[in-house]
């Protein structure tokens, strides 16, 4: 018997010995919608609070017209930024450094040499201060571009902000890679206290667009 057959055979006989007499009923009595309405002013305020609590810097703007100014302010003296191939060009209109589009893909060393990355996000979760990057979305791009540069500026639209984790999971398609980001890279490995700044981007800035 090969390993696959043997492991499955063992598990099947263990099932016979250990399975409960009646099938297990999964109880889902937890909340699947959040306390605040998706896209509302309240949910944006909560997201602002939770992002800030985990050491991201947030700028609130009312409309997409204000995005270029906010992005440029965050980028400050950054000489080069990388952006995913489908990022709206207008978002970088006020930035005067070099913009490198990731198409054709930059090498890891090229990514290591850029100062910052600017992306959109697929969905954001107000309860936890999280946004999710979907590799399949053209304004978010492949995973390496938001990982190697040390500074990440993320633009989040009100329509993509939900309150709770279940609301976000429902909106996401797992067939392409996803990255859930909650604050800049951090560690709790020294005396179980959280400190920011390890291998991922050490600086995380968010432009939050909406009411």
């Amino acid at each position: 018997m090969n390993a696959r057959e043997e492991v499955l055979a063992r598990l099947r006989s263990a099932s016979v010995a250990g399975n409960p007499a009646t099938p297990v009923v999964v109880t889902r009595e937890y909340a699947t919608t959040g306390q605040l309405a998706p896209g509302s002013a309240e949910v944006l305020a909560r997201l602002d609070e939770t992002l800030t609590d985990y050491k991201a810097t947030v700028t609130r703007v009312a409309t997409t017209d204000d995005v270029p100014g906010a992005v440029a302010a965050f980028l400050g003296g950054a000489r080069t930024v990388v952006v995913p191939s489908g990022l709206p060009e207008a978002w970088l209109a006020a930035y005067d450094g070099e913009v490198r589009r990731d198409g054709p893909p930059l090498s890891v060393d090229e990514l290591d040499a850029v100062d910052a990355v600017v992306t959109g996000a697929a969905v954001a979760i107000a309860d936890t201060g999280t946004f999710v990057l979907a590799s399949a979305a053209s304004d978010q791009g492949r995973r390496a571009i938001t990982l190697v540069p040390d500074h990440h500026v993320c633009v989040i639209r009100a329509a993509d902000v939900v309150c709770s984790v279940p609301e976000a999971v429902t909106r996401l398609d797992p067939s392409a890679p996803l990255t859930f980001v909650s604050g800049p890279s951090a560690t709790s490995d020294i005396e179980l206290d959280r400190v920011e700044g390890v291998h991922g981007p050490r600086r995380l800035d968010v432009v939050l667009v909406g009411p």
Binding site: A3, R4, E6, V7, L8, L11, S13, A14, S15, A17, G18, N19, P20, P23, V24, V26, T27, R28, E29, Y30, Y54, P105, V108, D109, I125, G129, R142, R143, A144, L147, V148, V165, P166, V169, P174, S175, A176, P177, L178, T179, F180, V181, S182, P184, S185, A186, T187, S188, D189, I190, E191, L192, R194, V195, E196, G197, V198, H199, G200, P201
Partner: protein, 489 residues
Amino acid sequence: MTAVELGMPTVAADPHGHLRGTESFPKAAHHALADTQLRRNLGHATRTIRAKRAAVVSEVDDWEELRRAGETIKADTLARLPELLVQLEEQVTARGGQVHWARDAEEANRIVVDLVRGTGADEVVKVKSMATQETGLNEALEAAGVAAFETDLAELIVQLSHDRPSHFLVPAIHRNRAEIREIFLREMPDVDPALTDEPRRLAMAARAHLRRKFLTAKVGISGVNFAVAETGTLSVVESEGNGRMCLTLPETLISVMGVEKVVPTWQDLEVFLQLLPRSSTGERMNPYTSTWTGVTPGDGPQTFHLVLLDNGRSNVLASPDGRQALHCIRCSACLNVCPVYERTGGHAYGSIYPGPIGAVLSPQLTGISGTDDVNASLPYASSLCGACFDACPVRIDIPHLLVQQRAAAVAAHTRPTGQDLTMQAMAIAMTTPGRFKLAEKALGLGRVLAGKKGRITGLPWPMSGWTNARDLPAPPAETFRQWWERTHR
């Protein structure tokens, strides 16, 4: 990277890997308790994390409902484990991944070593994984001439100091910042000699140390937090970004998971992504969670292998109650609330799974071979206070399993122990009033032994089992029955 794993059993010693220590819990605990620095470090760290966990759990109104959902999803998964694994295999394969099966730790290591050799690489970067700690993969790789670089900060500390992990989440929880600074100064060749013990500076030192390794590694090795059968999606939950580095930049990714890590549906993650971060690091959400499905052209490793590990899990599954231990999502909340763990730390448990859950999981994974089996002592490493059950995000009834494993440890006795003999002697003495009266007379001897100090501090075997750990008070001058006879007859 030579002799990295000093003090650990060699790869060939046990096909199960690192699930058994070399001495019983009471002996190992004695060493640990004598180390006042260790006790200070553990006390500080567990107090910190308990407060953080309590604060973020209290924010969630439906926490109990989420725990029940977590419990029943896991129970349902175990009841359908073979079919879910076959479904996972189909989905991963359909998306361009390759799935391997391993009966035990040795076989899993052999599979991974062969896969690494096949790439021609002589180095790998690793993201913290309990499964590969369990199998002792690093030693197997080293024996094959492959250097394995642990990239999680705490794992790095453990690896650099030739130490053993002592906690699921923070394997270097037994080290404080000053000790970590010393380890870095001693073991990192390119470290800044002016390094201070400020946690942020220590984290920066780790970043600088590993940066080139990440950017040039050809092979990454990871564990798996959750594997979704329905879609073939795998996930890794982490903080530092070292996980993202290992999962994204190498050409080849090899992930090793225990078979119980599968969950039926993508929707199930909405439960576990709420339960796990709040229970483990006491955060609303950990900084990074990555999910991926097979191979994605143009993004991340273009070769992906998934190794499914049994290593005793089928033994555990066969027990209707005991299988609950397989619900564990390795959050470590039960360690942080355990009064025994807080004092002894993780090394005393021998197995790489310490704390309350380790005390019920390790003996079930290995089976108890007899009275000399060190894992037979683990179910006794508890006061049965129940704090572990209250903290467990998937409601594993650990106190019940501890009692059950104590029974299993007793059943494994092939010859009577000191405790058995004492209990038998007591049974003889207590079955008739006449014998009991005689036994009471013998208590006078105890008063002689206790002497003026009024305490008995040492008795011969088998009673030494009691007096090694605690004193006995001197018996009273008169028992109740003697008093009754004197005053009421």
